[in-house]
């Protein structure tokens, strides 16, 4: 059974078809890219997968569970985590708290436990705190744990956002343009970080990315969309030489 399966995924906004008959299957521990020109519907696909939008047609299953009708936090608790194109950290909360709050779904205690500070509450909170510190340590963010994200550099904020997504212990990690706005040194760091995550955790990574350097050095499979429709699907080498892709990016201008 594939980890993620999207079949005939279509999403319309009024008359506009943002995503048209999109199909994909992702297996465990794959690293796949979704590329295409601006406005091709890439982020919409991510929004559909993470439950932020409901598909107009088609279905998504995650580990065999149909996610239609689920709210985003329910989809997340099935093991789907994501980052955002523009960083969306909670700016007034420390980095540590950012990581703690993201473990909401497995807090596993009731409001009453919280008021009474029951044993269950203490155990769970300790566990959440431990996971958070471990993750911060592993992702080399420990020294910033008590900083507010808005005081960190852009590159670090990206790293915190990825750490926050990883604190959900996802089986599928969606990265929406992780290299956007990073300088070349930070991009190198990001490539290393994503590879390290992929090697360390049992996670499938699916990314939207414009920087070919990132895509080519990380992904084993690339899917290209344009105007909401899939135009190519294959290994990096195949994609590089695919005429449809070249046409989508460079225009159809036969000399």
């Amino acid at each position: 059974m594939p980890l993620l399966e999207a079949k005939g995924l279509t999403r319309r906004f009024g008359g506009l078809i943002a995503v048209n008959d999109f199909n994909i299957e992702l297996g465990e521990r794959e690293m796949v890219a979704l590329i295409g020109p601006n406005g091709a519907g890439k982020t919409t696909v991510f929004n559909l997968v993470s439950g932020f939008y409901q598909p107009s047609e088609g279905a998504i299953t995650i580990n065999g569970r149909d996610t239609r009708g689920m709210r985003p936090h329910q989809v997340t608790s099935l093991g789907v985590a994501r980052t955002f194109q523009g960083i969306r950290l909670w700016g007034e909360m420390t980095v540590l708290d950012n990581i703690r709050v993201s473990q909401h779904y497995r807090a596993g205690y009731s409001l009453l436990d919280c008021f009474l500070r029951t044993k269950k509450y203490m155990i769970r909170e300790k566990e959440i705190e431990r996971v958070a510190w471990e993750l911060l340590e592993a992702m080399e963010l420990k020294e910033y744990a008590l900083e507010l994200p808005r005081n960190l550099s852009y590159g670090l904020q990206r790293r915190v956002e990825i750490a926050r997504a990883m604190s959900l212990k996802p089986s599928l990690l969606l990265l929406d343009e992780p290299a956007a706005g990073l300088n070349s040194a930070d991009v190198e760091g990001l490539i290393k970080l994503v590879r390290w995550i992929h090697d360390t955790f049992p996670v499938t990574i699916w990314m939207i990315e414009h920087q070919m350097k990132v895509v080519m050095s990380l992904c084993t499979r690339i899917k290209v969309v344009d105007f909401g429709a899939t135009i190519a699907d294959g290994t990096p080498e195949e994609i590089q030489n695919n005429p449809a892709v070249i046409k989508a990016y460079l225009g159809d201008d036969t000399i």
């Binding site: 985003p72 936090h73 994501r82 909670w90 709050v101 909401h104 409001l111 926050r164």
Partner: protein, 337 residues
């Protein structure tokens, strides 16, 4: 031992105040100001959960206070006072001490349910539109009670003194002072525990980025439900205490003016700070008393003060910091697990 200093001094303070009031060292006026302070602390900390921590703009807190005041008053009056609804009191006055906290709890519970009127639309809408819903909810509560002749309608409702007298009949100490102080400590304690937990931190996460919160596994609807119901329930508790302090309630003491007062306290203290909300409630109560000689000018001066505050220190007295953030040494003296 040292980390219990705060808790111990808190209870010692309550004990001391009660003793002082008992032996008339502090006069009745001062006692009533202290009780008012307690009620205001409950109101401002509870509204802070919604307007501060969750970043919504609820302007109908007075409505929920009203629900709590009337429900608990009706319960105690039916139980302990001769009334025109059932005639003779249902229970002997010796049970007053037992029944009073239950009546308060009933008021708080019904107020929490009334909070649903605001909580449910908050799933779909926020900001200005939600503010209007809270405003309308406040008016609806007031005019609903205005139309309930059986509990006095616009003339108000009384008879709560019988319960207080019943408690004093058992043991002659200033019971209301004790109840108000306990209610205040309970409220701050409850809220403190909530907002410091991982569960409770979902609330500021909604304020700072609701979409990120939902996608990072926070069940935003559940958090909103908890925040609104907890906030309105505690307002109901404040209402119940307030009604029994005065022994008389009138629906128009809980109108939009009351809600505005509570908002003033929240923004004066700083959004998202429990110590700020507590301090500002104390300050505000004192200010009202100090400015009493100004009569109606008081209500020109106070808005002016708040306008100046907004111009020069809009984050309020405390911002979103707690006292312990500003004075880390304080941490040695208390422990909130």
């Amino acid at each position: 031992m040292q980390k219990h200093t705060f808790t111990i001094s808190l209870f010692a303070g309550i004990f001391l105040l009660t003793v002082l009031a008992q032996f008339g060292v502090i006069n009745q006026y001062l006692v009533s100001v202290i009780m008012l302070m307690g009620v205001n602390i409950i109101l401002s900390t509870s509204l802070n959960l919604v307007n501060g921590y969750m970043g919504e703009f609820s302007c109908g807190h007075g409505g929920f206070m009203c629900v709590g005041a009337y429900v608990s008053s009706v319960v105690t009056v039916l139980c302990f006072s001769k009334n025109h609804i059932l005639g003779a009191p249902l229970l002997p006055p010796s049970l007053a001490l037992l029944a009073f906290p239950l009546a308060l709890a009933a008021g708080a519970a019904v107020a929490a349910v009334a909070g649903l009127v605001v909580a449910i639309p908050s799933f779909k809408t926020r900001g200005d539109y939600l503010a209007i819903i809270t405003l309308a909810a406040n008016y609806i509560v007031i005019s609903a009670i205005d139309n309930m002749e059986i509990i006095g309608g616009p003339r108000g409702f009384m008879g709560m003194n019988a319960t207080v007298n019943g408690m004093e009949g058992l043991l002659d100490i200033p019971w209301m002072l004790l109840w108000v102080l306990s209610g205040t400590v309970f409220t701050v304690w409850l809220l403190r525990r909530f907002v410091s937990s991982t569960l409770g931190k979902g609330v500021p996460a909604i304020a700072q980025d609701e979409i990120a919160a939902e996608i990072m596994s926070v069940d935003t609807n559940r958090m909103k439900l908890i925040a609104f119901m907890l906030s309105s329930g505690l307002a109901g508790l404040a209402g119940g205490l307030f009604a029994h302090i005065l022994g008389y309630v009138n629906p128009h003491s809980f109108d939009i003016m009351k809600s505005t007062e509570v908002m003033v306290m929240v923004y004066l203290g700083g959004m998202g700070s429990l110590s700020g909300a507590t301090l500002s409630a104390i300050l505000f109560t004192v200010l009202l008393e100090v400015l009493r000689p100004l009569e109606i000018w008081k209500w020109v001066v106070i808005p002016l003060l708040l306008i100046l505050l907004m111009q020069f220190r809009p984050e309020g007295i405390m911002g979103n910091k707690e006292l312990s953030d500003l004075f880390p040494k304080l941490k040695k003296y208390y422990s909130f697990k």
